[in-house]
Every structure is written in structure tokens, then in C-alpha cells.
């Protein structure tokens, strides 16, 4: 059973210039799947992510997360929904600077008023899994980008969400940290069967996923599934991307080979 269903979602931004960011987009995400969404700038990736994360509302169409439509909930229920069902990883980490790494991780649980024993237990398991022990009591401005993103992933995972939304998680990282973070996400996905939807520009990042979905100008363009070999998968992603760009490769970000 799919955990996330996108059904004919259309998003139109009204304004001086009416802009159709998403146009009748439909796809499903199965439970435990690691999905990458790719597309050139302005293709509606971030809008899609915002709509899934219920920050934004679709103009038409519906979204079903775990069997219910979050856009039917009222504001408070929506907040509770986000708090329990969704986890977020951002490009610029968005860690809170006045909290330590440890405090940043436990923040979602404290907001949800969990008892201290539960918090500490979860924290211990997350710390072990993500190997955060060395910088647990530092502040976000004292750690490297990769460490910060690991912290952010820890924050996204600690409340066992059914869906993790990642917006360019490797966008601000160097190649080594990127690889670490992607391997971590893959591991989390495999170990815990956590569903991850990742928006990315980077074909390397996309090549770690089970499936890559391409959108262009807000419409579904293509999708490809994982190969046995990541190298092959990467090559196919590049092929689709060059197709996406209309034969020109100018739209791609620089390619770094692992």
C-alpha cells in the first residue's frame, strides 16, 4: 500500500503574473521507498515538497499521507500531524543556533511533551546510529556542515516519522560529507523502512535512491528505477537529464564522480 499518494495535484500562484507551478502531477510512494525528485530549476520541486509537507495547499487535486488527507485537517491538527508523521531535512540545515546539537535533536520530542525517559532512550539510539557522540554538546556553529546535516537527520528521525522530506540535503556539503549523508539516508531507509522523499539537483545524490522521478515545468516527465549497479543507474539518470534539458546539457549541475 502506498504511504503517499499524489493525485492530480495542481498549484497555481495567483498574482500579477499567474504562474502554474504544478500541473496535474500524480504519483505514489510505497512504504519504505527512497524516492528522488529531480528536475531543472523552476520545475516545481520545492512547491511539491511544500505541498506534501502541508505548508502550502494545492489549488486542486489531493494528497493522501498514510491513508488520510492532511489538507482536510484544521490548523492545530495539522501541526500535530507534521509533528508526528513528518521529518524534515533542509539544504541549510536550519538548526537552531542557541541550542546544542543534543537539544536540537530532542526538540521535536520536547514539543510533543514526551516523558524524559522516552526522550533519552530515543536520543541514545539515534546518537549511536548516526555516530553523533563526538560533538553532541557542541553548538551548530562549532561543527562542520556534514556533522550539521547529520544532526538535522537525527532531528528528523527521532520521532519515528512515517515520511521524511529532504530538500537538497547535500546542496551545501562537500563531496565527502555528501557521500556520508547519502549513505546514512540509505542506511536509515533500509534499516527502519523509513520512507524518504528527496528533492535534489545532484545526479549523484539521486543515484543512491530506489527510484528517480523527473518533473519538468510542473509536469511528470519520466521515472527510472534502481539498477544493480549504482554506476549504471547514475549513467541512466544523466541520460534522462540531458533529455530533460532538450538535448542541451547546460541545465545540469557540475558532475562529480565518486
Amino acid at each position: 500500500m502506498p504511504i503517499l499518494q499524489i493525485k492530480d495535484v495542481t498549484k497555481v500562484y495567483e498574482g500579477k503574473v499567474t504562474h502554474r507551478a504544478l500541473n496535474q502531477l500524480s504519483f505514489d510512494v510505497e512504504e519504505g521507498e527512497f524516492l528522488a525528485v529531480m528536475g531543472p530549476s523552476g520545475s516545481g520541486k520545492t512547491t511539491l515538497l511544500n505541498i506534501i509537507s502541508t505548508i502550502d495547499e494545492p489549488t486542486s487535486g489531493e494528497i493522501i499521507v498514510d491513508g488520510m488527507n492532511p489538507h482536510m485537517l484544521n490548523a492545530t491538527e495539522l501541526a500535530y500531524f507534521r509533528r508526528r508523521q513528518l521529518g524534515f531535512v533542509f539544504q541549510d540545515f536550519n538548526l537552531l543556533h542557541m541550542l546544542t546539537v543534543e537539544e536540537n535533536i530532542v526538540l521535536p520530542l520536547t514539543l510533543d511533551q514526551q516523558p524524559l525517559e522516552v526522550i533519552e532512550e530515543r536520543l541514545a539510539s539515534i546518537v549511536e546510529k548516526l555516530d553523533l557522540n563526538s560533538f553532541l554538546h557542541k553548538r551548530p556553529n562549532e561543527i562542520s556542515g556534514g556533522q550539521a546535516q547529520r544532526t538535522a537527520i537525527g532531528r528528523a528521525l527521532i520521532h519515528n516519522p512515517s515520511l521524511i522530506l529532504a530538500d537538497e540535503p547535500t546542496g551545501n556539503l562537500d563531496s565527502n560529507s555528501s557521500r556520508d549523508v547519502l549513505e546514512l539516508l540509505t542506511k536509515v531507509n533500509q534499516d527502519k523502512q523509513t520512507t524518504i522523499v528527496m528533492v535534489t539537483h545532484d545526479p549523484i545524490a539521486a543515484s543512491y535512491c530506489d527510484r528517480v522521478l523527473f518533473i519538468k515545468d510542473g509536469e511528470f516527465f519520466n521515472e527510472i528505477y534502481k539498477d544493480d549497479r549504482r554506476q549504471m543507474f547514475f549513467q541512466r539518470i544523466l541520460n534522462v537529464l540531458s533529455l530533460l534539458g532538450g538535448g542541451q546539457v547546460g541545465d545540469l549541475s557540475t558532475i562529480r564522480l565518486p
Binding site: S53, I55, A75, T76, A79, Y80, F81, R82, R83, R84, L86, F88, F90, N94, L96, H97, M98, L99, E103, V106, L107, P108, T110, L111, Q113, L116, I119, E120, R139, N141
Partner: protein, 622 residues
């Protein structure tokens, strides 16, 4: 906004200061000095305030400047830009302030006229206040823009572009200073008590000093220490939004120590000035009760001027058409065996003449019986249940003093602490004068004029006052054979000083209060972008609306009420001290007034808090 307001207030006051009628009025020199003082305070404060708001403003726009510099703008050009902007804001606020001030000056004059009991205070147009206001504030703005330009220079371009995401919330407090802070504040309070009880005025200089240092340490170390202790306790700390709010407090405290300190000190001063106002007003309302007599003339038995003076007073009163009751007393001093001190003895029938003019209940004393004359409200309570058996030693008259006259008849300056009334028969037996030869005025005559419209009697007897003045210069300290007191005149003096204090105090307090609130607001405004991002993250993580409000409450509450709370405490203790001193001098109680003033302030703060909270939340949501 705030600078516009201070321009307006300044203008109104300078209008008043240059008002032709005021200069000739009863206030004269003193008021002019007072108002100039108030204006100087105002300008200094505005200067400081403008500097603060300008730097906050520039800080908020540092990113914009960074982009401009990045595009290749010269330093000189940017300085010009900042300077120009400051001047535009400055001149706009000067113009609007003057227009606003001018349109409200008539209204203000009407209030002043009521306070000062002047007949009329017409609106006038003259160039002086305009020139003064424009001159002072233009120079203030020029100074400020130079200073702000000078200080923006020191930052590096790279730091500016980075948008100061760097936030250090590591608290660097030292436990020693944390203890110091509390100890200093406490010692200031203890000192205040000591001073109020023993009236060691020299110590009182130490109090503001130690309170100021204590306050600074309190904010810089004591509070962070407490927060850190709280953060250390997980079971307390890791609950709901405490995690966030406590961490935020650490950051706020670290960032705003200086501002908190300034706000605390400023609000303490505002509280104090308002408290003094309240005291003054209570003094004027109590004046009537403490001084029931319009005119009092006291003279030796052999006073050569007595007949002349009394006659001239009567004639003057009749010319003015004021009705009066004249009572004449012969007061004899005797030694009481009970205390071995001198006691002033009044005759029953003399007393009854005065009492009948007040239409107070009359005395009916039998031989050997006596009644205390109260000299203040407090003595009234103290003497109420006292029974004294004594003998007037010189003439061996035994007396039982078993009650006190229930109303204050004479002002405190006229009667001595030991004053009694005895029956006519006993009084007739007072033949021998007091044994102690050094006592001044063993017997004296007292003339009291009870005047129902006593406020209007202020011009009566000025010739006697002048005579007293000239005589005291001639005789150099030798005791004058008479003493004259005019309650109406004294009242008008008190009223004048009071209204002066009101004017100055209201001015200063309003500007201080406004500024204290604006400091907080500016600080919030400068960090608004960052806060917005933070709340954006939190919202994504699932923060409900009510939780957001609660979080904002916790964010704003200490910023508002911590400095004000401390200021409240300080001024409360200052008032305890003032009360202690006042008790000795003026014998009035200011507790009620102070409570009223504090309540008023709390109300204003709460309103202010909600106003800013509302603005803040709407900014964050947008």
C-alpha cells in the same frame, strides 16, 4: 517615531519656556531653571536614544549595505548615504514634531494654566522655540549620523555579507560575579533601610552606586547563572517549550545586558520621578488639614510691633474683603515634673474662642485637668490613650492630662511638642515664670486668624515678612521678637514647586517610559529576520498556533518585565528610604500614592507588552 515624539515634547516645553506670561509669573527664576534642566535631560536622552535606534536600524540593514559595497560602492559614498538618510529621517521628525507640538501646545497651555492656577495663558507665536528646537535637534541628528557612520566603518565586508548568522549563546558568566550582583543589590537595600532608620545621609551616596553595579552584575552574571543551572536539569529543562525558551533566554541575556541595564536604570528614574510627583500631590492635599489657620502671628510679651502689625493685618484683610476670626492667646511656659522638660500652657477660654471659630467642639475643663494639643496626625494617635499625672513645678499645680484634643488646631511649626490646655482657674494661678532662665520667650502672645478662604490671603502681611527679612539681616541671628506665618503664601510656594515638579516629572517620565519600551522594540526589530526563520523551521516541525503564541510570550516576557521588575524593586526600596526621611521632616505618608503610581505603571507596561507582542506575532506570521 520616538524621536518625533521627543521633538514634539521638547517643542511644547520650549514654547512654555519662552512664554512671555510665564516669565513674569509667580514661578519666575526657579521654574525657568527647572525647565532648562528638564530640556537638557531630554536632549541628552534623545541623543543617546537616537544613537541606539540608529545603530539598531543600521544593523538590521547591514546586509543591504553589504550588497551595495559588493557592487562597488565607495566607503565615502556609503557614508554619505547613511548620513543623508539620517538627516532625512531627522528633518522629517523635526518638522512633524514641531507641527504636532504646535497644534497641541494650546491644549498643553490649558493644562498648565489649571495646574499653576494662572488666570490666562494665551497661545503665542514667536521664533524662539522654533529656532531652539530646530537648532538643538538638527545638531543632535548631525552628531548621531556622524557617530553611526563612524561605527559602521569597522565591520568587514565578508562579515556583513554573511548576514550575521553567527550566534554565540555560550554563557560566559562567573559565579563570583553572580554572587556579587545579588550581594550588591541586597546591600543597597539594607543600606536603604539603615539610612531611613538612622538618617545617615552620607551613606545614601553609596546606595545608587552599589545598586547600579549590582544591577549590572545581576543581568550579566546572576541571571545567566540561574538559567544555566536550570538548563543543567534535564527533567525540568526538556519539557515542552522550556528547551527553546531557556536557551533563548541565555542568548537574550548575553546580547542585551547593556540594554537591560539602561532600561532598568531609566525606568527606575521614571518611577522615582513619578513617585516624587505623587508625594508632592499628597503633601498639597494634606496641607489643608495640617494647617488649619490662615495667618499666625506670634510675639514676645514686650513685642513693640505687636499692636501695629495686628492692626495692619486686620486692615489688609478688611480691604480684601476676607472674613476672619481673630483669637488671642497668652501662652506660658512651665516645667513639667513628669518629664522635667518645659511645657507650653494654654488657657481654656482662649482656646475655646478659637475652637468656636472653627466650630469644633469646645473644651470644658475642671481644675486640675488638662488636655494635650496635638502637633501632627501622628502625635494625635500617640497621645490618644496616654494619661499623665504631672505637676507644673514653678507654681505647684498638680495636673492630670488624660486626653488629647481630637483635631489639629495649630500648625506644627507654631506649637511645641509639649503643649497642653488647662482650666482658667489653674491658669490664673500661674504667677511665677519658668525657672530655667535660658528659655526664650517664657511667655508669649499668639494671634491666630482663622480665614475660611485662606488660599486668597497670600498677599496679606507681606510688609511684616519684609520687615522680618530686613531685621534678620540687621540683627544677624538675634531672636526676632515676633514670628509670622501665612499659610496661604506658603501654600502658593508649595503649589508652585509642586506644579514645576509635575511639569518636569511628567515630561521626563513620559519620554523615559516611551524610550524604555522602544529600546526593547528596536532590539526585537533588529533580530526579526532571524526570528522569522526560526519560527518557520518550528512551524514545519509542527508548532501549533497556540504554542507559537506561548513561545513568543516566553520570548518577550522577560525582555519586558525583567528590567522593569528590577526597576520596580529598586524604586520600591528607594521609596522606603524616602518615606523614612520624609517621616522626620514633613510627616506625611506616601504609601498610598506610591502604590497608585506603581499600579499605573504596571498597567502601562502590560498594555505596552500586548501591543508589541501583537506587532511581533503579526511580523512573524507574515
Amino acid at each position: 517615531m520616538a524621536s518625533f515624539f521627543s521633538v514634539a515634547v521638547f517643542f511644547i516645553y520650549s514654547m512654555l519656556m519662552f512664554h512671555p506670561d510665564i516669565e513674569r509669573g509667580i514661578l519666575g527664576e526657579v521654574s525657568l531653571i527647572g525647565m532648562v534642566g528638564a530640556e537638557v535631560v531630554l536632549v541628552l536622552f534623545t541623543l543617546f536614544f537616537l544613537y541606539y535606534s540608529m545603530s539598531a536600524f543600521l544593523e538590521a540593514r547591514s546586509h543591504e549595505f553589504a550588497i551595495l559595497l559588493h557592487l562597488g560602492m565607495e566607503r565615502r559614498q556609503m557614508n554619505k548615504l547613511v548620513f543623508l538618510e539620517t538627516m532625512i529621517i531627522g528633518s522629517a521628525s523635526i518638522i512633524v514634531g514641531i507641527i504636532f507640538g504646535f497644534s497641541f501646545s494650546k491644549f498643553f497651555f490649558m493644562i498648565v494654566r489649571e495646574i499653576l492656577h494662572l488666570d490666562k495663558l494665551p497661545l503665542y507665536v514667536s521664533w524662539q522655540p522654533f529656532l531652539l528646537t530646530i537648532g538643538v535637534f538638527t545638531s543632535a541628528f548631525v552628531v548621531i549620523s556622524f557617530i553611526s557612520v563612524y561605527f559602521t566603518r569597522e565591520r568587514k565586508l565578508r562579515d556583513l555579507i554573511k548576514e550575521s548568522a553567527y550566534l554565540n549563546s555560550d554563557s560566559t558568566y562567573s559565579k563570583k560575579r553572580a554572587v556579587y550582583g545579588i550581594a550588591l543589590i541586597l546591600s543597597a537595600y539594607v543600606l536603604a533601610f539603615v539610612v531611613s532608620n538612622t538618617s545617615l545621609i552620607g551613606l545614601s551616596l553609596l546606595i545608587p552606586l552599589s545598586a547600579a553595579f549590582g544591577t549590572y552584575y545581576f543581568f550579566s552574571d546572576t541571571v545567566p547563572c540561574f538559567i544555566d543551572k536550570a538548563r543543567g536539569k534535564r527533567e525540568y529543562h526538556w519539557q515542552r517549550y522550556r528547551l527553546l525558551s531557556l536557551a533563548e533566554q541565555t542568548h537574550i541575556m548575553k546580547d542585551n545586558v547593556k540594554m537591560f541595564f539602561v532600561v532598568t536604570m531609566v525606568s527606575t528614574m521614571a518611577f522615582l520621578s513619578v513617585g516624587v510627583l505623587a508625594t508632592m500631590s499628597s503633601y498639597t492635599t494634606q496641607y489643608d488639614r495640617l494647617n488649619p489657620l490662615g495667618l499666625v502671628y506670634k510675639g514676645d510679651v514686650d513685642n513693640p510691633y505687636e499692636r501695629n502689625h495686628i492692626n495692619s493685618l486686620r486692615i489688609q484683610l478688611e480691604e480684601k474683603g476676607l472674613s476672619y476670626h481673630l483669637s488671642r492667646f497668652v501662652v506660658v511656659k512651665q516645667t513639667s515634673s513628669f518629664t522635667n522638660n518645659e511645657v507650653e500652657v494654654f488657657r481654656e477660654s482662649d482656646m475655646n474662642v478659637l475652637l468656636s471659630s472653627f466650630s469644633y467642639p469646645l473644651l470644658d475643663l475642671s481644675s486640675g485637668q488638662a488636655v494635650f494639643i496635638p502637633y501632627s496626625e501622628e502625635s494625635l494617635k500617640k497621645l490618644k490613650n496616654k494619661v499623665v499625672h504631672t505637676v507644673l513645678e514653678e507654681n505647684a499645680i498638680p495636673l492630670t492630662i488624660d486626653s488629647v484634643y481630637p483635631k489639629i488646631v495649630f500648625p506644627g511649626s507654631i506649637v511645641s511638642v509639649n503643649s497642653i490646655v488647662i482650666s482658667d482657674e489653674d491658669f490664673a494661678r500661674l504667677i511665677k515664670p519658668i525657672a530655667d532662665q535660658d528659655v526664650l520667650q517664657p511667655t508669649y502672645h499668639l494671634f491666630t486668624f482663622y480665614i475660611p478662604q485662606w488660599i486668597e490671603s497670600k498677599d496679606i502681611g507681606q510688609d511684616i515678612d519684609e520687615l522680618t527679612a530686613s531685621q534678620s539681616i540687621e540683627k544677624k541671628g538675634k531672636f526676632s521678637p515676633y514670628y509670622f506665618e501665612n499659610a496661604g503664601l506658603n501654600y502658593s510656594y508649595i503649589l508652585a514647586t509642586y506644579s514645576l515638579f509635575t511639569l518636569v516629572g511628567v515630561l521626563v517620565a513620559s519620554v523615559f517610559l516611551l524610550a524604555a519600551g522602544s529600546f526593547v522594540y528596536f532590539k526585537l526589530h533588529a533580530s526579526l529576520e532571524r526570528e522569522k526563520r526560526k519560527f518557520d523551521v518550528l512551524k514545519r516541525m509542527g508548532l501549533t498556533d497556540t504554542e507559537l503564541k506561548k513561545l513568543v510570550n516566553r520570548h518577550l516576557f522577560p525582555q519586558f518585565f525583567l528590567p522593569w521588575g528590577v526597576a520596580m524593586m529598586h524604586s520600591a526600596f528607594a521609596f522606603i528610604m524616602v518615606q523614612g526621611i520624609l517621616k522626620d521632616i514633613a510627616n506625611i505618608s506616601i504609601v498610598k500614592e506610591v502604590f497608585f503610581a506603581f499600579g499605573f505603571f504596571v498597567l502601562i507596561q502590560v498594555i505596552y507588552f500586548y501591543l508589541i507582542r501583537w506587532r511581533y506575532i503579526s511580523h512573524i506570521r507574515s
